[in-house]
Amino acid sequence: MAVASPTRAFGASIRRREDPRLITGRGKFTDDMHLANAATAMFVRSPHGHARIVSIDTSAAAAHPGVLGVYTFEDVKGFISGMPCAWPTTNTGDTLKLATYPPLADGKVRYFGEAVALVVAVDPNTAADAVELVTVEYDPLPAVINNEAAVAPGAPLIHDSAPGNQAFRWSLVGGDTNGALAHADVRISQTLVNQRLIATPLETRCAVADYNPASGEVTVWVTSQNPHIHRLLIALSTGIPEHKIRVIAGDVGGGFGAKIPYYAGEALCIFASKELGVPVRWSESRSENYVATAHGRDHIQHIEVGATKEGKITALKVTAYASLGAYPSTAAPGVPTWLFGCIIQGPYDIPNNEVHVIGVYTNTTPTDAYRGAGRPEATYILERVIDLVAAKVGRDPVDVRRLNFVKKDQFPFKVANGTLTYDSGDYELTLGKALHTIGYTDLRAWQAEQRAAGKLVGIGVSSYVEVCGLGPSSAANAMGFAGGLYDSATIRVHPTGKVTVFTGVHSHGQGHETSFAQIVARDLGVMVDDVDVIHGDTDKVQHGMGTYGSRSAPVGGGALRMAGMKIRAKAQKIAAHLLEVAEEDIEWVDDAFRVKGSPDKSKTIPDCAFAAYMAGNLPAGVTPVLEEQHWYDPENFVFPFGTHICVVEVDRETGETHIKRYVAVDDCGEIINPMLRDGQVHGGIAQGIAQALWEEAVYDENGQLLSGSLMDYAIPKASVMPHLELGHTVTPSPHNPLGVKGIGEAGTIASTPAVVNAVMDALSPLGIHHIDMPLRPAKVWAAIDAASH
């Protein structure tokens, strides 16, 4: 089924153009780059959570046949002494204690799996043998894992530069929360744990570096969501001039936030390639990925809520202890602060709210963004709070949501802490559609019958708004992010009318090669198949900030739209000239410029492109060639929203949760490709359900990661995932050039509390109101057992 008209390309569920290479085994992932004469790098990693390094003996490894080099911190520090942090933020009087993050351990290891030495050998087997030959003597130290214990008096000190293990204190205050709490009809105090998670893209991190000593140029293939940010950070941290660095992130096997940061792995491949004069490749094993790639979430949150007896929330106070892990990763301080605190009132009109965040160091893998990044932590609080308030005042949680929603006529809506202005929304719309789809009234009647029969069945609702499309650069700068958050588009119309598009955002599963072609095809009146999308290569793409925070469609897509309009503006002058009419006498109709009143007299963009390259018959002042660039810096964030509803049955005998139905109604504004949108929602929901029910990074008291493999860390399988019923509404963003809002994180944000609320609803007849995630059978069974005695 061909999309016959370019005009209909936007909004069509067309097949992805990236798929032919991926389904035939012709993708080019980083580890597929086999360069001639390449050496293999591997790391010696710490078996301790916290220890002093007494000695490192590399002599046996260095003498092993086939070993090209063995390096410790002392060897590499002249090349790179620390991994940079790009979001060094704080907003209180407490100065950020930004501990140095050495590429290899400097005298001390601070988390299990920290890299201690680098081995480079002729092939992987030899490198693996040599890793075993490096002898490191450690003097183990007490470790601290728990976020609150880390800042308690007497805790083991992780960094001398961060007394009390505190990285920062950060606060946002709106209204008079203490006053409102004092006057509230009902008050609730609750502690919530938002557990530590491991992103687990199916492709681990890899890098291949090829340093050319003659030219001083280096090419780095790396698993990155943001190759230009990688290039910048490589330049800043190593001193290699930025214009001599080419970063290529080709096919990337999923990111979910964990491939945003700049890591020692890629930096040290560059070091070794420069040192040895050969290409150097490195590929994480999965066990290595679980300790060496950034983790996500990891909050302990203390919550105070005040409400009226009807359930209108008048005050919300949150104090969160958020772990940065052992070192500050690239964006780490920004995630539990701005990305969490700004949106703390969610879709609700809560006039008085405060959020205080204590960022702490613990003896764990560094944390950074993980799908949703900060917004799931805020949404989970709100959605649990709504249900706790509903239970307290004896009302249906749906009614309490409605009572507290920001209303349709309140947009644009400024939040109480003043940081955000929601662009558009209709929260009642998605809630209503979700309730209708699932048949809420009948469902509650069914639940009553099931309960009467002794079954533990529950219904969980979760409404959310997210801040995404990161974002205006002015806001990013004000929040302490060391970079702009604009993005770029170049549209090159070739002489034959075929089009190549260059975008600064990156696709690692999202399908931009398809959806971005759909955007441009509509604006230029050409077929989707005639538009190629280039991304992920710093030598091809001008600049860009990459993909995270659901920013690709709003920001990258917005840039494309603006560049497309520039193409149209130039082409219109050429068309008028060729048609020998005034510019104002032609109009863009049905994929061509047409003379008003004589639509048969027309010129297409390819016609204009040919003339622009012939260049001998152009109107005065019009330059040859048809190529335009736009740098789009959004005026505001975008605010997708929605409601998810989950129905569960909990097995009283085993504590196991079975999801019976799952309905998701999301509003991401205009939809470019419904099939891709649904795919994003499916995957997001799977990750969110997994946080609710199964996934958790578990450490023992010494800092050993106990969930260090896919045998121990429970990402969902096909057999445990329910069939998802999706719906949508369309509330365009009023300021975005495409009216889009982003959909990559919505599923993850909404689904976790929907599932937890459903399980708690199921258990409420037993008097159980909260269990911390993940709601694994043993934990739920223990709660049921305790409640029954």
Binding site: L22, T24, G25, N125, S285, G511, L710, K717
Partner: protein, 172 residues
């Protein structure tokens, strides 16, 4: 080191390969590094993820759990050999049409396992598909469209319909 190497002959996608390998070489590494067939991916080191699933002598296996020397004399099918005579395999077409892949990293393994599923039973139920995909992990799709892809492929196989020609079908 050379004296420890072992000679093997493996037929991969219909083409015989004669090689010498270290006895500890995994079949997946042999395919990727020695033969340059990088379509088969490595997603873990514990046999959980199934990204490296291939078909050896008519049986789907995780090629990270097999030594190259164990494949001596075997007939191996990988993702590179799925399309035949210039046409996609029904499973490839199903994954494409139903958006059964996002980042595409786990996809070769899922497709090879799906080939096995449909060779065993060309009309599996949703539940049978989900159970038979137990050994394959995907982090992007939530599996829903993978199930749809396998069903679509089964329908194509049952109908005997011709699949799309490789090189066609983009932009539709």
């Amino acid at each position: 080191m050379e004296e420890h190497h072992v000679g093997i002959t493996v037929e991969v996608n219909g083409r015989p390969h004669r090689s010498t390998v270290e006895p500890r070489t995994l079949l997946v590494d042999y395919l990727r590094d020695d033969l340059g067939l990088t379509g088969t991916h490595i997603g873990c080191d514990t046999g959980q993820c199934g990204a490296c699933t291939i078909i050896v002598d008519g049986q789907s296996v995780k090629s990270c759990m097999v030594l190259a020397v164990q494949a001596d004399g075997a007939h191996v099918r990988t993702v590179e050999g799925l399309a035949q005579d210039g046409r996609y395999h029904a499973v490839q077409q199903g994954f494409w049409e139903k958006h059964g892949l996002q980042c595409g990293f786990c996809t070769p393994g899922f497709m090879m396992q799906s080939v096995q599923i449909l060779e065993d039973n060309p009309d599996p139920s949703d539940e049978e598909i989900r159970d038979a995909l137990e050994g394959n992990l995907c982090r992007c799709t939530g599996y829903q469209n993978i199930v749809e892809a396998v069903k679509a492929a089964g329908a194509t196989i049952r109908s005997g319909a011709e699949t799309m020609a490789v090189g066609t079908g983009v932009g539709a």
